[in-house]
Structures are given as structure tokens and as C-alpha cells.
């Protein structure tokens, strides 16, 4: 098998604050192949955004730092790459789009100015050619009257249109990897679907791998090939979208899936996982999900679970239950008597 496009090995990223070191990402391993759409799911504060910023080398200076692990991209370890090299990679080979399309564009300049600037950062072409390229990109992301839009200011566009502009900007240099940090969270539901469809289309047309960071399992189901579920700075489950939705192996994943509102369901209350995400660094020993888990037993509090193979191709879970035989979490006997 050929080497993956991106391979993250044992990544540990910490924030250094007045209260000491806070491990936001604590030993994360995963990889993304060329042309793959990889979803990273988790609650706020689980380390999914920090993982992406670590890859981009955009952690806040002096506060966040990669303290361990390697990030291999096209045979190059980005953790050790110079800032100069990272500037060449950013936007050119790895691009990123953000959650807030309303504020992701500079309000003082026209859409054209900003696209031309982005294009000319990495390709040495003349302004006129860059402008033609910019118009082409706008058409590509499904914006009508692209020529006219080049002379418009961000405040004249809607949120969905701006997100399309951001995608155009990110795709301008045809990066091999596009990191999308909650690209649809701030958008209307109807627009969300359009943006996702657009991203999927770009993925198919150009073979750009997408790392889709989201807390919305609906987004994952829509466009991802593979999913990583993160919890408290660790990967708790990894597998194909089908495997994770049909047979979730980790109680946290199962809980997330159960909390999706079902239009057919007649449940009065929506399921929610009890408790809160533990503060980074506060769990000293045992499974980090133990306090909120309904299947918890003694071993969970004493030993750190590893990522165990579930028997299915590429499906791994960080849960002792997987060591026992059987199907998904939901079919297991509930060990309520052992709860503390």
C-alpha cells in the first residue's frame, strides 16, 4: 500500500498557561490517504481544532506547542519544518477553511483583491491572469456572475456565498489537503447541504483530500469516508462511516449517535450523555470517559485503554469492552451495578 498523504503519529500538543501545562491533544495517531474525506468528530474542547492547527503550524505563538509526535505530509515531518517552509506549504499544499465565513474575509478589500492576493502568494503570475483565475475559481465553487463579484465587498455577500469564496480561495492553488474546521456550523441548514455537496464535488473532481472537523454527525454521514471520534484529547474510535454508524464500539460514539434527533422517533426527550468532558489533564488514570460511561467497570478506572482492533478492517476503539467478544455496545449487558 502506498504511503498516506498525511500521517500523524503520537501527536501531543499542549498549551502553556499560568496554571501550567494543559495537554489539549494527547497522543493522537491517524492518517489520511490521497483523495479521502476524513471526518474528525468530537465535542468542543476535545482537541479536534488543536490537531488541525498543529498540522498547519498555526498554534498561538508562545502559548500552544507541539510537545511530541510527528506529522508526516508527503514525506516531510511538518513538526520539524521551518516557518519559511510552512509558509510555502500553507495555502499551497494544505489549505484551511474556518467556521465563521462572515469574518473570514477582510472587510476593506474586494473579493477579487483577496483572491488575487491568495493566488499570487504561491504562483508567480501577473495580476491580470490571477484575476482571470480568481473568476474561474468563483465559477467553480458555484457562484454566478463571478466577474461582477470580484469587485464586490464581503459585506455585500451572504454567509453561504462567503463560505464559497473562502473555499475558492482555499482551492485556488489546488492543495492536496483541505482542512475544514466546522465549515458549515455558522450557516443555515439549507446552505449547509449545498456547501457540503460542493466540497464533495471538489473532492471528486480534484482528488483533494479533506479533513472535515465537525461536531455534527450529520455532516460526517453526508460526506466522509472515514471517521475519527475524539474525546478529551484522544482518539476513542476510528473506522469507516458505515461501521461507526451501524456498529459503534465505543460508548461515547454510541452516545453521540443516540443524541441525534430522529424525525421518526416519538421520544419526548432527546438523549444526552450525562456529565461533562473532563478538563484536559485532570484524568490521571484510567479511561477518560469512565465518569460518564454507563458500562463502566473496575478495570476502566485502573488501566488506560489502548486502541483495540474490533475485528473489522480499520475499525479501532479505545474501550475494554472491545476486548470481549460480541457486537456493538448497544447489545451488551449494562453493568449498572458496577457504577460508582
Amino acid at each position: 500500500m502506498e504511503a498516506p498523504l498525511l500521517e500523524v503519529r503520537g501527536l501531543r500538543t499542549s498549551f502553556f498557561t499560568d496554571d501550567g501545562e494543559i495537554p489539549a491533544v494527547d497522543g493522537v495517531d491517524f492518517s489520511a490517504r490521497e483523495g479521502e474525506v476524513l471526518g474528525i468528530v468530537g465535542e468542543s474542547g476535545c482537541g479536534k481544532s488543536v490537531t488541525s492547527l498543529s498540522i498547519m503550524g498555526l498554534l498561538p505563538k508562545g502559548i500552544g506547542k507541539v510537545v511530541g509526535g510527528e506529522i508526516w505530509f508527503k514525506g516531510e515531518n511538518l513538526v520539524e519544518a521551518s516557518e519559511r517552509r510552512m509558509k510555502q506549504i500553507r495555502g499551497n499544499e494544505i489549505a484551511m477553511i474556518f467556521q465563521e465565513p462572515m469574518t473570514s474575509l477582510n472587510p476593506l478589500f474586494t473579493i477579487g483583491d483577496q483572491l488575487v492576493e491568495a493566488i499570487r502568494l504561491h504562483t508567480k503570475i501577473r495580476k491580470k491572469e490571477a484575476r482571470a483565475r480568481a473568476a474561474e475559481m468563483l465559477k467553480l465553487v458555484g457562484l454566478p456572475r463571478a466577474e461582477q463579484m470580484l469587485d464586490e465587498y464581503p459585506h455585500q455577500l451572504s454567509g453561504g456565498m462567503r463560505q464559497r469564496v473562502m473555499i475558492a480561495m482555499a482551492m485556488a492553488c489546488q492543495p492536496a489537503l483541505l482542512i475544514a474546521d466546522e465549515p458549515t456550523t455558522a450557516l443555515d441548514v439549507t446552505i449547509q447541504a449545498q456547501i457540503l455537496a460542493l466540497m464533495k464535488e471538489l473532492n471528486r473532481t480534484f482528488g483533494t483530500a479533506i479533513m472535515m472537523i465537525t461536531h455534527d454527525l450529520g455532516v460526517v454521514a453526508e460526506i466522509c469516508d472515514r471517521v475519527i471520534v475524539m474525546y478529551a484529547g484522544q482518539i476513542v474510535e476510528e473506522g469507516s462511516v458505515q461501521a461507526i454508524f451501524r456498529r459503534p464500539q465505543h460508548p461515547y460514539t454510541a452516545g453521540l449517535i443516540r443524541s441525534i434527533p430522529d424525525i421518526r422517533g416519538k421520544k419526548e426527550r432527546l438523549y444526552s450523555i450525562p456529565g461533562q468532558v473532563p478538563k484536559p489533564g485532570s484524568v490521571r488514570c484510567g479511561c477518560r470517559f469512565a465518569e460518564r460511561c454507563e458500562y463502566v467497570f473496575d478495570r476502566c478506572r485502573q488501566e488506560d485503554p489502548q486502541l483495540y482492533e474490533t475485528g473489522e478492517q480499520g475499525h479501532r476503539t479505545r474501550c475494554f469492552l472491545a476486548l470481549e467478544k460480541g457486537g456493538g455496545v448497544d447489545e451488551r449487558p449494562v453493568a449498572r451495578s458496577e457504577r460508582a
Binding site: 498555526l58 508562545g62 509558509k87 495555502g91
Partner: protein, 299 residues
Amino acid sequence: MAELARTPATPPTAIEEERTVSLWGEAWQRFRKNKIALVGTGIVLFFIMIAILAPWLAPYDYKEQQLAERLQPPSSEHWFGTDDFGRDIFSRVIYGARISLWVGFFSVLGSIVVGSLLGIIAGYYGRWIDGVISRLFDIMLAFPSILLAIGIVAVLGPSLQNALIAIAVINVPNFGRLIRSRVLSIKQEEYIMAAKAIGMSDWRILFHHILPNSLAPIIVQGTLAIATAIIEAAALGFLGLGAQPPNPEWGKMLSDAKDFLTQAPWTMIFPGLAIMLTVLGFNLMGDGLRDALDPRMKS
């Protein structure tokens, strides 16, 4: 019902025909509607015209002494009267506009350039660089500004040019802190992160994104600072630390006139009025610019 059948993909023409207006264009629209600001701008333009056209407007040479006509009251010959050397005050006030505006513009320009640079560096890089620059500003602001200016002129020697430098220096912390705070807030904006994510360099981000977005408060503060700079220049002139005779600096004219206040009040009234009017003009214009450029600040 035909209207209802229209899909959202083809918006009504009204939207299509909306004019493309930049933020600056919008600000200009707001400024134009502000009558008081326009009056202020009128006054400022009036004095600028006077300064430019001084040699053609002034009936006499500003240093021409006619000792026979000392301390003459205003007349058809000498509109604003004459001073104790028999010089025409009207001509001196006209030439004085050149000096005051020159000092006002260039001292503020100097403060803006130096202050912006320091403020940007402090705000963008933060940490110890910010600590050093901010403490420097704090120290400078701990002195009453005119005292600091007097100190600087005392070191450099009294002259108009040194007064200008002193005024520029004392205003640096005001601009520095203003820019620093703007940079700190703009730095958090997502478009800065987005710019970094496409591989833009720090300097490009500073000068292409952060500085243009800080321009509005700089312009407002700059206009208002010209007003104070003119007063400070007059104060230094009054103390004999600014323009030297026979230069017709308005503050210097006031101080020369103070001995004849009772016999010849016109020697003091006209330069005083000139100072008041220019400062008023810049203040009104500055207030108008603030309302136009930052509508949220308007009470």
C-alpha cells in the same frame, strides 16, 4: 402569482443593481450628511487656502517695519491694525497660517509614522517587545505633555523645527497606544487566521490587513491631534521656545502683544481668533470623521 413562481436563484433586479460601495465610500456618504463637520472642513480648507496663497493675499510683507505706524488700530489701510514695530497684523496672521498648519500637519505625521510602527510591533509580536514599548509609552505619558515638550526644546534649542519635533515626540504614545489596541483586536479576527492559513507572511499581514483596518481611528485621532498640535506650537511660541522673530507665529504674536493688551487689544485678538478658528475647524472635522468612520461610537 408570477412573482411567487420566481426561484431564489434569480433575485429581483433591484438586488442586482445595488451599487458597489466600499467602506470608505459609505463613510464619505455619512460625512457628507453631517453639516457641522462640513463647516469644520470648510474652515480647515479656508485656512489651507490662506496658507497657500499667502504671498498674494497679504497686502504687506510680514517683516516690513513701519515705525511711524506703530500700534495703529484697525483701519482700511491695516485691516487688523499694526503691532509695536508697525508691522501689518493682517499680513502676519496670513503668513502665520503657513507656520501653524505646517507644524500641525508634519508633527502629527511624524507622530503617526513613529507611533504606528511602535504600536504595530507591540501589538502584533506581544510578549517582551510589547512590554518594553508599552512601558516607554507609560513613562512618556506620566509627564504633562507640554512640560515634556519644553524639556525636549530645552535640550535641542529653541527653534520652530525643534518645537515641531518636540510636539511630534509627545504625541507618539497616543498614536502608539491607539494602534496597539487596534492591532490586538484585529489580530483576533478570523481573516487574519485565514490569511496565515494561505501562507501569508507576518509583514504582509501587518501592512496589508492590519494597518488598513486601523486607518479609520488613525485618521480621526490625527485630525484631532492637529488641533492640539497647533495649540501646543502656539504655547511653545508664546514661551519663546518655538518660532523665533521675525517669524509671524500666532503664539509668538500673542506673547509679543501681551504688553500692549490695554492700549492695543487688536494685536492680541486677531492672532488669538486665528488660533481659535483653526483649532475649532480641525475639531469639528475630526468629530465628523469619527462619526462617519465609526458609526457605532456615535452616541
